[in-house]
């Protein structure tokens, strides 16, 4: 049975990718997934060699043939996303692909056409396979692309006999987050002891609870506000969530990133030891 772990935080910039890349360096028989499809950074640390790529088609988009259009205004009246002006001019970038305009057009001037919204990749890295993707700028359906990379990772894990999938999640609580955590075995929430970090991580823990996924917490930059760190620990205690580690602010993370390396590959220090210990605890929680 393949186990799945997703690393999320609610707020961005809490250290998700830094930690996930280190876990990927420490894990032994696994597939890594970068599910932050609209600002994917994992490839910077993992230097992937792309082995295969596939086009990702999101939702279809409306296309209007102005030679047939009789300017009846039905498309404008029925579109709820503002994709048509009152003079029936179509703005494809506002189209959400619902196809209502195609349905109501009396003369067949509108058809829904496929559009490539991104690309998904299977790559080889020094830490084993990486499944990642690139969503074209401004595209919809990023949750759907996350579902694509996750299913490719499961296929790959089954094919290659891997027993773990480590997923670097996106920020927020919306469609991409929901799509990266549904059905996984464990969620690691990286929390920062700042008011905004706490606010957002507590929201994302609620999302995990909503979908009945167990979570554990790691506190990053724990020394920038010891009082808030204390509050996070109390919150976790109350909710019965295990705190798998506390990482003080350490510029080693940035130094390693500047050399395109993970922290645990960088000359050994306190941060690296700490991350190894956290990984040991997560492996245990995953069993």
């Amino acid at each position: 049975m393949v186990r799945e772990l997703t690393v999320i935080s609610g707020k961005g910039g809490c250290g998700k990718t830094t930690l996930t890349a280190s876990f990927s360096a420490l894990a032994r028989n696994h597939v890594t997934v970068d599910a932050d499809v609209d600002a994917a950074d994992m490839h910077i640390l993992m230097n992937p060699r792309i082995m295969s790529r596939e086009a990702f088609h999101g939702l279809n988009v409306a296309r209007k043939n102005d030679d047939i259009c009789i300017n009846c205004g039905k498309c404008y009246q029925n579109c709820r996303y503002g994709a048509f002006d009152p003079d029936n001019t179509l703005h494809p970038e506002k189209c959400e692909g619902c196809a209502v305009c195609e349905l109501v057009c009396p003369v067949g001037a509108i058809e829904m056409v496929e559009r490539q919204a991104g690309e998904a990749y299977i790559s080889e890295t020094r830490f084993g396979p990486l499944v990642h993707a690139k969503l074209h700028a401004g595209e919809e359906a990023s949750g759907k692309l996350v579902a694509v990379v996750r299913s490719r990772a499961i296929e790959l894990a089954e094919e290659k006999g891997k027993d773990l999938i480590i997923i670097d999640g996106p920020p927020g609580t919306g469609c991409t987050v929901i799509s990266s955590i549904t059905g996984v075995d464990l969620v690691l929430v990286v929390m920062e002891p700042t008011l905004s970090g706490m606010h957002d991580s507590m929201r994302v823990i609620e999302v995990a609870n909503h979908f009945r996924i167990p979570s554990v917490v790691c506190i990053n930059k724990s020394d920038i506000n010891p009082e808030n760190t204390q509050k996070i620990e109390e919150f976790c205690m109350e909710k019965g969530i295990e705190v798998v580690g506390r990482l003080p602010y350490d510029d080693t993370a940035t130094k390693a990133m500047m050399e395109n390396k993970t922290v645990v590959e960088f000359p050994d220090g306190a941060l690296s030891r700490n991350i190894r210990e956290i990984w040991r605890r997560i492996e245990k929680a995953l069993q």
Partner: protein
């Protein structure tokens, strides 16, 4: 004037720049469009009060009239309706509220009701508005659209955008007079900045860059800005005092008043560019 503060990468300091800029301009209004994780209110005094609920239309099925013909389910582009035999399943979270099922139903079995997806709140003096997506709801764009309508007719409105380059971020940036792109001088920061530059160039809004936590990496972002002829609006140093104030919810311009000049100068520069 509408200024949007955006960044591809999360946690680069969008909220820091947006709140401090708003607090440095007399009478400015701040609208926090990061409906999945609104944080600006943590830096403003006083409580937020509910202005309104945000709902999208969702179908209501009259099972007396329904013949389970499956036309609605075939039509729905979001797979929100499934008809199996004499059973109809509706997945509310997948529904985008387009109204297509109601139009296509031959038996008039579908009407519409509101499906709650979030709320909009504001503070006492209406200097801050934000939206909040309900837990478990995937699509925040309808809330962002409503928030965009709360911009001031006169004076300055600043929008704090959600991270990323997908639809919620684009919705926040669209129709702005200027975009401030916040980044870090690191490989992650530069890579995500380039993605955001593509988006904002595509929308056709003038923009400039703010380098936050200057000193943690190198000068790669500055070199990129020079090559691409992108104005560098400001550099905020990597200062432990700023991080500590941030962690407590105190704006930089209050904790370290000397930074007021930096934010005022940034505003003057933007005004000169549009």
């Amino acid at each position: 004037m509408k200024i949007t503060v955006a960044s591809g990468k999360g946690g680069t300091g969008k909220t820091t720049i947006a709140t401090n800029l708003a607090l440095s301009i007399d009478g400015a209004r701040l609208i926090d469009c990061d409906v999945e994780g609104p944080n600006s209110h943590l830096f403003f005094p006083g409580p937020m009060e509910k202005l309104k609920d945000v709902s999208i239309p969702a179908p209501d099925f009259d099972l007396e009239k329904c013949t389970y013909c499956g036309k609605c389910s075939d039509f729905c582009q979001y797979n929100a309706i499934s008809v199996i035999g004499e059973k109809l399943l509706f997945f509310e979270e997948l529904c985008h509220g387009c109204g297509g099922c109601k139009i296509i139903c031959p038996f008039d079995a579908i009407s519409e009701r509101g499906h709650h997806i979030g709320i909009i709140e504001n503070n006492n003096d209406r200097s801050l508005f934000h939206g909040r997506l309900d837990i478990g709801e995937p699509f925040g764009v309808p809330i962002i659209r409503e928030l965009k309508g709360l911009a001031k007719n006169e004076g300055v409105t600043i929008f704090d955008s959600p991270p990323g380059t997908a639809c919620p971020a684009v919705e926040a940036m669209r129709d702005s007079d200027f975009c401030i792109l916040v980044t870090e001088p690191t490989p992650f920061g530069l890579y995500d900045l380039k993605l955001t530059v593509d988006v904002v160039r595509g929308i056709g809004v003038p923009f400039g860059v703010v380098v936050n936590r200057d000193g943690i990496g190198d000068d790669r972002v500055e070199r990129y800005c020079i090559e691409e002829e992108i104005p560098l609006l400001a550099k905020i140093p990597n200062d432990m005092e700023i991080a500590k104030a941030y962690s407590r919810g105190v704006p930089i311009v209050e904790a370290l008043p000397s930074y007021r000049d930096l934010f005022r100068a940034m505003y003057d520069r933007i005004r000169g560019m549009i």
